[in-house]
Amino acid sequence: MSNNGPKTLFDKIWSDHLVGQRDDGTSLLYIDRHLVHEVTSPQAFEGLKLSNRKVRRPEATFATADHNVPTINRENISDEQSRIQVETLAKNTKEHNIEYFELSDRRQGIVHIIGPEQGITQPGMTMVCGDSHTSTHGAFGALAFGIGTSEVEHVLATQTIVQKPAKNMRIAVNGKLPFGVTSKDLILYIIGQIGTAGGNGHVIEYAGTSLKPLSMESRMTICNMSIEAGARAGLIAPDQITFDYIKGRPYAPSKDHWEKAIEYWSSLPSDQDAFYDNELIINSDEIDPMVTWGTSPEDVVAVSGFVPDPSSGKTENKQKSIQRSLDYMGLKSGTKITDIKLDKIFIGSCTNGRIEDLRNVASVVKDKKISSHISGMIVPGSGLVKKQAEEEGLSKIFIDAGFEWRDAGCSMCLGMNPDQLKPGERCASTSNRNFEGRQGRGGRTHLMSPELAAASAIKGNISDIRDFI
């Protein structure tokens, strides 16, 4: 990265947060905002205590409980270990004066939903959280990435992190998104193209004309799954849509600072002729509504397609891996994707648990019933998303259609709470990972957009939204 030449969005944020740098490139990077949740923080707070260290900037740190919490009857958490983790977070945040959105607080929710919702997430920031989907916040032009618990402790104690600069990758998607194609399909398509290790060591900047009209909610879905392509972070340049979203939110810059903030944010987009280590250009008309068939997010296929044959793998290892996935998923090569029968539908998660997602689901399921053999669950991303959905009448549409309407949390995305698949159950899920056992031991996950999951709930099979409307 040169100091004087044209810079990428990533280069600009990086150099503006450098506290120091070693000869080998290892850098001490300042962290503007730190999000904390119950699962990856207890050992970090314990470490502080053992070393008699304090939290350097409690006011730059925000906490909530999301991974482990029940989404029903949550007044008493019956699982003892889960309850202890939530109580430990309450105790730790109180002890260190950290703002904590507790379960009884309307503002509680999935950490990556509430950061933006509260206006905590802003362009040009560095943000970290002990969760890989921290990449979500990149939709605002913030450099945001997941860290381990030791690093959580490091950030709590020093407000900095030790990092090497990432490489720059640019993925431009051009053209209007075809009918039935959402930002979820777009990111699934990209992961299918570059693979789950394709972004390793890189920060991916998403650009191109397809992204320009997208809402912040849709942009967040794209950046959220950058980690599924192996990238350290995803980024989208901030623009008027970004500024309009942030304005007036509780932790947004105050009126006194607003103009100055806009001026700074407007300087962030990548310069023309900035250098990228890798570039990929995609035409939007290549993209269909996408579904995963296997146990890695790169195992994607158009919903109009077929379950692949192991011989389609380019290497022997890939062929073995396809066979292993097919065995786990209980699928035969050549099966039409829309012939795959489902048991469960999960709509929610930090990928697709925002109000726009719920509106889209409601528009598909309104005045319809989910298939008699399907059990469907809709989990809003935050207490405020839940409230808004209820005020807009969406929850009534869901309940009338036969869905369960739950409280906010990560829920069946990772099944740490009681929301899990049973062995062999097949689920259409709007979440981000279809790993073996992710949603419950032996559970089979097909990732897709909320629109496809909604249509699939009605039909009982994986369904193409384009045949549905």
Binding site: Y30, T40, G130, G146, G148, G230, A261, S296
Partner: protein
């Protein structure tokens, strides 16, 4: 943190690509508030059946691999979540070194925080090391010399100087960074003028 210098022993072969952190340590074990005790749950779903009994033919359940300190694994090891429980469970089992053609970034960082050495090798080297591991050949990892020896095979490997130093000396990152407190404070003072909306607490 534990120091890492040299390591001798047999290596367990795990020829699967994209081994994710959910496979290394499933979610039900993330409810702990401790860093220790996760070794028995390492690779839980591959290691135990539905009744919680050991699956006999899984490599880490067979002798002598149940004593392995080294793991040889397929590409993109440790992809998925940021859970440090993954290296904690490897370490608690006794694994101190993992060899693969690539690692996911967060997992790679997390290893160094726990005295585990992840080594990136070429696809050809991985094939040879996988075979050597299957033959129960003794591996010899030398961090100061940056070499891997296994039977007739001998390779050099790359590691960043700062990470190497820290592993050799078992240094704690936080302690090092706290030595730069003045620089951090100076940075905050400077940025508070440029970006006052980020420093309401100051």
């Amino acid at each position: 943190m534990d120091k890492f210098n040299t390591l001798k022993g047999i290596a367990a072969p795990l020829p699967i690509v994209n081994i994710d952190t959910d496979m290394i340590i499933p979610k039900q074990f993330l409810k702990t508030i401790k860093r220790t005790g996760l070794g028995v749950s390492l690779f839980y779903e591959m290691r135990y059946d539905n009744d919680g009994k050991l699956i006999k033919d899984f490599v880490l359940n067979t002798s002598p691999y149940d004593q392995s300190k080294i793991l040889v694994a397929g590409d993109n090891f440790g992809c998925g979540s940021s859970r440090e429980h993954a290296p904690w469970s490897l370490k608690d089992f006794g694994i101190k070194c993992v060899l693969s053609t690539s690692f996911a970034d967060i997992f790679y960082n997390n290893c160094f925080q726990n005295g585990i050495l992840p080594i990136v090798v070429t696809p050809e080297q991985l094939d040879q090391l996988m075979t050597a591991a299957s033959n129960q050949t003794e591996f010899h990892i030398d961090l100061p010399q940056q070499t891997i020896k296994a039977g007739n095979h001998s390779f050099n490997f790359e590691i960043e100087e700062f990470r190497k130093e820290r592993l050799l000396q078992g240094l704690d990152d936080i302690g090092i960074t706290l030595g730069y407190q003045d620089k951090i404070s100076n940075y905050e003072d400077e940025k508070q003028n440029q970006k006052p909306w980020l420093f309401k607490d100051k």
